[in-house]
């Protein structure tokens, strides 16, 4: 596997954190730091009890958008491998939604890039969540905090 390797997958299939971690560290003796983020379905959001969640996306645009976010992160920090997996379709409570991992020689770079990728993903990548709640189906509203989080970079 090349040193600076981007991996992006958008899929209905669940991911396995152990396998993803293995892919980050296997035969990678130069990167001393790996930072991961996993986002999961919460049981409460915006005050309603969530039963399950459907993730819609814009297939032709999604991977292009994620690749562009990773490219921007690589321009800002010295990164080794980057892996990004995002689920679509029907998800239950506590299921995994998104995995972002970044390896680097420097932990500071790995932390910053992982957080940057999540902040941009939250505000630019074409995914939309619809929650099936005890009060009926509701499209999740975008969060002003996410826009603020993005603006700092």
């Amino acid at each position: 596997m090349p040193k600076n390797f981007d991996f992006i997958r958008v899929s209905e299939q669940d991911f396995n954190v152990a396998d993803e971690y293995q892919a980050m560290t296997h035969a990678n003796p130069t990167d001393g730091a790996v930072v991961f983020f996993v986002g999961l379905v919460r049981d409460f959001n915006q005050g309603e009890k969530v039963k399950e969640l459907t993730l819609e996306h814009y297939p032709a645009m999604t991977e292009k958008s994620l690749a562009s976010i990773i490219k921007q992160a690589r321009e800002r920090w010295q990164l080794g491998r980057v892996r990004l997996v995002h689920r679509v379709g029907l998800l239950n409570i506590n299921e995994q939604i998104v995995f972002v991992a970044v390896s680097s020689k420097h932990r500071e770079d790995a932390f910053s890039a992982c957080q940057f990728i999540m902040d941009y993903l939250k505000t630019e990548a074409p995914f939309w969540k619809k929650e099936q709640t005890t009060q009926g189906d509701v499209w999740v509203e975008s969060n002003a905090k996410d826009t603020v989080a993005r603006e700092r970079w």
Binding site: E56, A60, I97, K122, F127, W128, K130, W139
Partner: protein, 81 residues
């Protein structure tokens, strides 16, 4: 022709996931929004606020101009991750 796509809550509001429209030379995204909203009673105001746009799968502002065969998408603010 240009191909226009709608996603998520906007698709539900528009009651369609796509439109095929004539190309108008040098039309901007802002003008296209107006054209769509004016074309049907039920669509009035649907694209006025809080709608993002992409042309050929890249996010653009209202001043972006369209060319023949552009793929235009309109959607609400994204909520992935």
């Amino acid at each position: 022709m240009i191909n226009v796509l709608f996603f998520a809550s906007l698709r539900e509001k528009m009651k369609t996931d796509s439109l095929q429209l004539e190309t108008i030379e040098n039309e901007t995204i802002g003008e296209l929004k107006q054209r769509i909203m004016n074309s049907k009673e039920d669509w009035q105001g649907t694209l006025a606020n809080n709608v993002l746009a992409a042309v050929n799968q890249e996010m653009v502002g209202d001043s972006a101009t369209l060319t023949d065969h552009s793929e235009v998408a309109f959607f609400p603010p994204v909520t992935g991750g």
